[in-house]
């Protein structure tokens, strides 16, 4: 009886409901110049963007698929529709969003979260945003939070053009080039100097279409002395064909500014998540990443901070949970490129049911980064003996005048601990879920309460059925 309640509390079905793809505009699958031009036309790109897309396609065709990570053989670009637009334009109020799409977001708790704890919300459904709204008080502070298409032609067009794919150039890797060629959707945020946004902004990405790709672009510029917390969430229903996510996040954090970027990613397990995220920090700036990776079939995800100004600081707190059929290759990169910069990294990975979790960390300290400090701690927990966990640290230190620490540990869930908790009345499932939640606690603590709850629910969800 007890166990039943336990399973009911967290129902995967909220993520798994598929909407019918009716009257949607869907571009022909595959990746050709014709398709790229068609997307550009559909999106009424400015001229420079159309040319940029074509350039990216060329680069894409020239770069090899990465050969050092999990296999992406199951991903065939000829089968992927890179642009799917629901039959609606973007709305500023939930009432106007088509009923079935609105229901999906309500199940995911987005409108409720907006009412209770967010300063602004963007909701993307397949390739385009269907909803976007910012609180009046935040707008009055001069904060710009819009969909990317509006940003490209609006008063900030020049700023967008100056920054778009400058931090993540299309030559960076094959899927950055792909992103440049077919990107659509995403958000643009600008926080003016000295403005502190008290409560978070959130973008939620939902990929509903089968065999499709999502390529949203997020560009955030936090000006001098400003402060922002941005949250992104992602999910998709499960299909038996491959879906692809190759988004791109570029964060520019100005002098003495602070940006916290939190992600709870829960893609369905047919998703190839080949996402690129990068931040550059000016003098005295702080970049904080909080990252929860639960979903996808294969992930390559390594948020990167370039500490480019003296005294800048970055923190990375991440958790990865790889279950059956998942190969999640996650981690982070930090480049110390100025004196007295600091980085603090804390990751947790959990693997279960034959899942594979790899944590890669790369710390680069350039010769000019004297007086810098870096501390990296990676812990892994394997729930059973068919799962796999790897930690691959890399360090490139080019000055003696710095303080670098790395520690890693890999462990199994202990039978003694499970027995101990069971002896106080918890079922085996509950005991294991509690141990795993505890293991992840340092990360969930970094999240706003609602998201910490969602994360704990995801952990419990993943743990259910792990017995026998």
């Amino acid at each position: 009886m007890k166990e039943k309640t336990f399973v009911d509390d967290i129902n995967r079905s909220v993520y798994d409901v598929r909407d019918e793809e009716k009257d949607a505009y869907r571009i022909k699958q595959g990746l050709t110049e014709e398709i790229v031009l068609k997307i550009s036309e559909e999106k009424h790109d400015p001229e420079w963007m159309r040319e940029f897309r074509l350039k990216c396609l060329k680069i894409y065709n020239e770069i090899q698929v990465p050969d050092w990570g999990p296999s992406i053989e199951g991903l065939n670009m000829d089968d992927i529709a890179t642009y799917v637009r629901a039959n609606t334009d973007m709305k500023g109020s939930w009432e106007e969003v088509p009923e079935d799409i609105k229901e999906t977001f309500e199940r995911l708790g987005i409108p409720q979260a907006e009412r209770e704890s967010l300063a602004g919300v963007g909701a993307q459904y397949d390739s385009e945003l269907v909803y976007h709204n910012v609180r009046k008080e935040v707008e009055e502070q001069g904060v710009i939070y819009t969909d990317f298409e509006s940003a490209l032609i609006g008063p900030y067009a020049e700023m967008v053009r100056e920054h778009f794919m400058k931090l993540v150039p299309p030559t960076d890797h094959k899927f950055a080039a792909l992103h440049g060629a077919v990107w659509s959707g995403g958000s643009f945020v600008y926080v003016p100097p000295g403005v502190k946004v008290e409560i978070p902004l959130q973008s939620y990405f939902r990929l509903n279409a089968k065999g499709a790709g999502q390529f949203e672009h997020t560009l955030i510029i936090v000006d001098e002395g400003a402060d922002l917390h941005f949250i992104e969430g992602c999910s998709a229903p499960k299909y038996n064909v491959a879906n692809l996510h190759a988004g791109c996040v570029e964060l520019f954090v100005g002098k003495n500014a602070r940006l916290r970027y939190s992600t709870i990613e829960n893609w369905s397990k047919n998703m190839y998540n080949l996402n690129t995220k990068r931040a550059i920090a000016a003098e005295g700036a702080t970049v904080e990443w909080v990252s929860g990776s639960f979903g996808s079939h294969v992930s390559y995800l390594y948020p990167m901070t370039i500490l480019n100004g003296e005294g800048s600081h970055t923190e990375f707190t991440g958790i990865t949970f790889a279950g059956e059929g998942q190969n999640l290759d996650t981690g982070l990169k930090v480049v110390h490129n100025a004196p007295n910069t600091t980085s603090f990294v804390n990751t947790r990975s959990i693997s279960k049911g034959g899942g594979c979790a790899t944590t890669r960390s790369s710390i680069v300290v350039n010769a000019n980064a004297k007086g810098s400090k870096s501390s990296v701690s990676c812990e892994s927990l394997m729930i059973d003996d068919i799962s796999r966990s790897d930690t691959i640290p890399a360090m490139d230190i080019r000055t003696d005048e710095c303080d670098i620490g790395h520690e890693a540990s890999i462990g199994r869930i202990s039978d003694d601990a499970v027995f101990y908790l069971m002896s106080r009345g918890l079922s085996e499932e509950e005991a294991k879920a509690m141990i795993v939640s505890g293991f992840a606690d340092k990360v969930s603590k970094e999240l706003p309460l609602e998201y910490a709850v969602e994360m704990n629910n995801l952990i419990r969800l993943e743990m259910v059925g792990s017995i026998g």
């Binding site: 002896s423 106080r424 009345g425 918890l426 509690m434």
Partner: protein, 248 residues
């Protein structure tokens, strides 16, 4: 005096670890509210009995029976045994990072059918912590993480007092404690005896924890068998003469 209700009846219990038999047939009957002491030299199998009764998968029961409140204890999962009111205080309580003592005890209580509002839980917790001279700040600390030996044992007795089991097995709860800590722990156990009328099986190889406690029966376990059973007076005999007399 009318006989109290029987809680546990163990018959010819044989238990092994890694194919090696440790207990060679133990018989024991415990009734409501009774305090039994199980003594014996190191390696006699005392902890094996506690672990087997709680269902530790490392201990295999190869023969015999254990009837708890009329049910076959050996057929029950560990957590079912707990929710039916059996409690084992661990010799080495496990550290569980990220899970606070407070959250853990509340979850345990719910599993054992006791639901308290957060307010009432805190009130009750503070009351029991006072008995044990524990700082209530421990409620918000991770379970056993960084606790000293004494603090761990106190936390075990705290859980005992919160969970109100019908029968508590205390496995070497006094080992490694200083004199003051033994006294405090013993006060907690006394509280369980008196206020909650709980039955006890106290496993120990010293007698310090027993000084202040009322004891009904004493059993001496030697080489996997109960070599002698008596009242509280047996404790004094062991104290003066040791375990040698029981065949060792």
């Amino acid at each position: 005096m009318s006989e109290a209700q029987e809680i546990l009846r163990i018959k010819n219990l044989k238990v092994g670890v890694d194919d090696k038999e440790i207990l060679h047939g133990v018989d024991l009957v415990i009734r409501e509210g009774e305090t039994h002491v199980l003594m014996g030299p190191n390696g006699a199998g005392k902890s094996t009995l506690g672990n087997a009764l709680m269902g530790n998968p490392k201990y295999a029961v190869t023969e015999g029976s254990a009837i708890y409140k009329g049910k076959d204890l050996l057929e029950m999962e560990t957590n079912e045994r707990a929710s039916e009111g059996l409690f084992l205080s661990f010799q080495n309580p496990i550290e569980v990072p990220g899970v606070t003592l407070s959250n853990f005890v509340r979850s345990s209580m719910e599993s054992c059918g006791v639901k308290l509002s957060l307010w009432n839980f805190k009130k009750e917790a503070k009351k029991q912590m006072e008995v044990l001279q524990m700082d209530p700040a421990y409620l918000d600390r991770d379970l056993n993480v960084g606790f000293s030996g004494g603090e761990k044992k106190k936390a075990e007795i705290f859980q005992l007092l919160m969970l109100h089991p019908a029968l508590a097995i205390l496995d070497e709860t006094d080992s490694g404690l200083d004199v003051d800590a033994v006294k405090t722990v013993s006060t907690g156990v006394e509280e369980y005896q008196k206020s909650q009328n709980g039955a006890l099986l106290i496993i120990t190889h010293s007698t310090r924890i027993l000084d202040a406690l009322h004891v009904d029966y004493t059993h001496v376990l030697v080489d996997g068998r109960i070599a002698a059973t008596g009242g509280a007076e047996l404790i004094d005999r062991i104290n003066s003469e040791g375990f040698e007399q029981f065949g060792r």
